[in-house]
Symmetry: D3
Subunit: 293 residues, 6 copies
């Protein structure tokens, strides 16, 4: 169960409205790595968790905080849009380049659809979607997904920081940056703890029998491009992070097989198969047909 309190975790009011920045801020609300994503992702991971202890508690604990971040951003964006211009005609834009600058940089649906309101979309107006989230049931994989989400999120907030000089907005961003710092550290710590406990290990999933994979190619770096510097990395020689092998370096594949023959489905799928005996006969016909065009 969730309970709502009409308070925010941190001050979320701009010094003044800014419809241009409102559009940009939608990214960290409703984008691929926005707050809706992490809130929902931690929720679904908790609901799919297979033990009732500290990891699920962690997911519930952070997940609920993230729903509060959704709210902080929503409230901020609505305020940024508060004085959004109603007149947005081409003539008005021509007469006033300042207005034009604003309108050209804003999300028009915030005006037309939401009446100067916030929306569950990213900075280009793409609706948030469930396929942004990850909840596999494997905690080491999922905590790595979470660490990535918090990294991508913090990179985006850091970029936004330089797109405004509004003190109120920057205050909120500085708070979000700090929480992202916490959450990066926390998911990395939780992933390490899973490995330390032996609950999960590399390669993920660690409880799949290794003898069922083709072990001879499990630590080969196969270079399918012609750059030579990849051989210099720690992924090309030495011990592997899973502690179970040694990296080796190879130019191109270490195995190849011929392409299998094409499929021959039932003829009633009406796919095309040239009739062998007609191919030669056709040669002359085609030449004529093409030439005559």
């Amino acid at each position: 169960m969730f309970f709502h309190r009409q308070e925010l975790q941190f001050t979320s009011s701009p010094s003044k409205p800014d419809a241009v920045f409102a559009r940009r801020m939608q990214e960290v609300l409703g984008g691929q790595y926005g707050e809706i994503t992490v809130a929902m992702q931690y929720g679904f991971q908790a609901w799919n968790a297979h033990e009732p202890g500290k990891y699920r508690d962690l997911l519930f604990g952070i997940g609920a905080e993230e729903f509060g971040h959704v709210e902080m951003l929503a409230v901020m964006i609505a305020q940024l849009l508060e004085k959004a211009p109603v007149e947005q005609s081409e003539d008005a834009m021509k007469a006033d380049p300042v207005l034009a600058a604003v309108i050209g940089g804003t999300d028009v649906q915030s005006a037309i659809v939401a009446g100067a309101g916030v929306r569950p979309v990213d900075s280009n107006g793409n609706p948030w979607q469930g396929s942004y989230i990850t909840a596999s049931g494997n905690l080491l994989a999922d905590f790595t997904a979470n660490a990535n989400a918090e990294m991508q999120g913090r990179v985006q907030v850091a970029r936004l920081y330089n797109m405004t000089d509004d003190h109120g907005v920057r205050d909120l961003l500085s708070f979000l940056l700090a929480r992202d710092t916490m959450h990066q550290n926390q998911w990395i710590a939780a992933a390490a703890e899973l490995r330390a406990e032996g609950a999960e290990d590399l390669p993920v999933p660690s409880n799949f029998p290794l003898e069922n994979e083709q072990r001879d190619v499990a630590y080969q770096y196969l270079n399918f491009s012609d750059g030579k510097h990849a051989s210099e990395g720690s992924w090309a020689s030495g011990a592997t992070p899973d502690g179970k092998g040694e990296f080796s370096y190879h130019d191109g594949p270490t195995s190849t097989v011929p392409m299998p023959p094409p499929t021959q489905p039932d003829k009633r799928f009406y796919g095309t198969t040239p009739k062998p005996n007609l191919v030669e006969k056709a040669a002359g016909v085609i030449k004529d047909a093409v030439t005559s065009k």
Copy 2:
């Protein structure tokens, strides 16, 4: 530039057709964490890279291999569908529960749209989409995304392994499992190398000035749920993985502010605001409510 060779990296032919498994296998071809995703993801990361050395070479080298994996799966799925039944009527299904079993478990578009062919979709028929990929320009964030993608991918392939007992299919899966093992190790090694070189560090992005974030909440675990076990984890006390702080544990938020007042956009957005005579009456009530918090 890409050059194609009509060979595969490993044998990719089933012992016999299996339309049911073909549908399942679409997940690791065209799903969120399928081969199209990693092929495109490494490509875009390479094209967005900011240095010409070993990291970009690595991205190009693996990316091209993954396009070959797309092909291996595509060729395998087409063969699995080769004998897909044409007749799929309700009557046929009623007469033959075996046929019904097959049809109920298959993707009908593989027959109707592709003529017993492979398609760029996941196992539920959702088309692959560009929003599955991540390429931020920050390599530590992106390599973490890559490690996650290879973990999720290997988890899915491992699950598929138990959904078939076809030797040909399992051979291919065992090969993909091994390459996922390699790629998990490799991205983890590459992420570690970035940190060791000082090219990037935690928190990501490390070149954003830390003084611009609200440092006092940067290492606090704030528990917004009522589970008590999260306090037992390594994320609740002790040194943080970024080496820059100490975790602390708190029940609920360490800061709160009242919700800011609602917005008042231009009336010509035709939002609803209760009549003025009610608003004034409400004013005092609100003031009390906010003050008393």
Copy 3:
């Protein structure tokens, strides 16, 4: 801010697992009118509200309950999937029609992607998306949207009721049905209250000047089909619900104008415009070209 408690509003455990029903139940979790939709819809309406009083409190109060319903359904679906079969090969399905029946009716991604877990998708596997929600800033419009959402939702839950005879599942459904009953009544009451207060009226938006609309066609029923019975309805004669007009009935449009001439964009958009002088000359050429094929 949202606070989470590890409790549920009502018992949400099935008598026994049922992967087939799990798929169906995803509809009222992650579908167009599922619980995620109403939770997010009421949240965004609250964040976009323009007054701090009873209507916003109502939106916050119900919205938070709906997030709890998301959780109830998620937890139920995960339990329904708990014994989902791992082996799902075509051979297994052929050998065991009972297994086949189950597999044919389930969402394969719940197994492959989520490891027998719940996902943010509808019953056909389409991811939930932000474009399902409505939050216009106009409360009479939005409360009507809410009433509709609760009606559609209750219709779907009622249909699901007959697709299971599991007592645990039916218990949860009976609870959701009752809450939908409440929420239908509540949004209808709130919409009526807006009108009674004069805060908003028909036609929505009521604060747009009526003289700016083409009043002569504002109450005409124009029948563009050839069914005759529509003239018998209360929408074809008598007073209109907005209290501002009289319905009238007309076969077809009461006004027509000729289609405006086609556009002539800049030639550098490379659209096609036949060259008038060539048309006649072309006639013979075409006839020859077509005939010779």
Copy 4:
């Protein structure tokens, strides 16, 4: 069957081209509540109707009109784009802020993809999609959906009215506003008629047996937020609109149950479960936690 006539219901030509407004106008053509939505929605409701009388005739009659509105808007938008600029380079924009204003505010795909043409998308370029429509087979629910669609649509058209001062465009908008007025009234009347006839009633669906729902919570307002004003509304006390109960007001839930234990799927889904020796230790802890609630 549909028959087309090369006429329009009302004049649909702008006084002059305006590429900026063309983008905005796409919203009411191809957006969530645009004309394509209502045309298709009424069509699918008619095709899914279960009786041949006045309600289906009404749906056919209005639906066909809406297809004509799709055309009016399409023709208008194409004309608004007629003089859209071909040169759109950064240099041109720098040299001419007036051009820049126009280009910044337009949909670039109308030029690149459609050659200064109209497209089936909303004002942010999101393609129209089938999930915008509602057709459940339950007419009271669906007519409420229709009333909402006409309200949202009229709100959007009213907002657009203030984004242009072009007389031709405003003429068309004034016509659409009037038709939306009609259609709001008509669907409200039709919904009332269904109830008056006893064909359908609240709560929807009214033919689902009420004894199958958890009646004790069917009229409780449960406040999951801390706002106090929701208790003042007509939804918190008094008779309910369905005429079958009395509203009551409650702070928070009137019932709670402990969270059910996490699921334990087959190990071959490779989810993570901490090692057995930790699990047993945890068992007592959990029992205490659950019991003490």
Copy 5:
């Protein structure tokens, strides 16, 4: 303007309900190449046409017919679903393999969402979307798109023909097949007429100055794979269909340039660039870090 008549072009009633086929039939209603696509495509092409003559008349004439085909399929699908089973539980499926066969092969949303009704989706439940259509303003390109759409559509209908033996359904399919035959022929004739008239020619767009393209590679077949048979085709030698060149065959590219250097965006985008002087120093550190895991 569109006018609706409550008649169909051809008989559209099945001999008996068949929920399995209903799902399959959704493909040619709401799929990528279904009737909604062609109806909307011809409409948008007409609204974007740049001359008022025979080509636009053709687009309007066929477009309106296609809306009628949308209706024929919708009505047929609703009838196929008429007796769709309400009980769909796992137990029911286990008890009755015949029921299981039906349920496993059907679209569950037709029951839950539409109450045994038709929906604007394809056979896998993906909603129809505006991005399926093509309307560029260039008629030769668009008529080629139309010819393709009618070909893909007829292939799909032909496949469906073998998935049912219901006489009523086959009657409708035989009608649609014939109309697709007509429309294939018609768009090919119209494309030929455009070329014969000189209104448009190959390469499309023919009014773009050929001297602005890199003519030396305009007729080279460049083989980027290692298959040798492509050199045998009429596309590898001889006159080209546009009558303006001669095909030539080449193994691989005829030109190459080095990859340009990576980009160096502003540092405040927080992308990663390794610090050259640190790379060597890092070597030892990494080795330690990896080994110690």
Copy 6:
């Protein structure tokens, strides 16, 4: 298998950065008819091909080239974005209309999400999706789809040519235009070759028995609009391109049947069916209900 070489087919560097054009250029990378589409389309057609000869070799040969075009565009766009401005606030835009012009015309996600990088999206930010491609297994249909794709693509590149005067960008565009010229010619030649060989013919699919279609309407032009000029085209009289019939022209349909009766699904789907005996009784009730509002 694919092998990558760190070279490009042609020079792909702009004379100077241009973030505005970068956005436009995304269309031909990640749009409906961008390079990702053709690369993937030819790949899937090859993997679904049913014979190993010249046609499959052709698909592989061109497909791999197109992946190289994806790379050329990606590299170009990244360079166009290289100097993209970091500061993008409303204040900055107000102070500097030149900056405003740039920002208004750019894709904000290229900055926030990709750090001045290229993304797999179109010019409006819609992610590329698998439903853009066509691979039916019928080669005449698919080669027609390919010819269309190359036509649409060349039209778009031609339009882009006039949106920039950067020599570097125009050089790349001139190269792409030439390759599109080649590919248009090649697919038309390949389609002709299929027909000449007798491998496939009109109507597609030619191996479906013609006696199974309703031949009497197979060559009738049925005009469902009131434009008269369509009768003048070569599609209204004379021999048909498939060589199997004669076109005829008809105003409206040549056959009609009454609409079948509405469906009557199981009552437990809770659809609405008015109760006949109640209709009359309801009349007075409604009048009262409506009037009293």
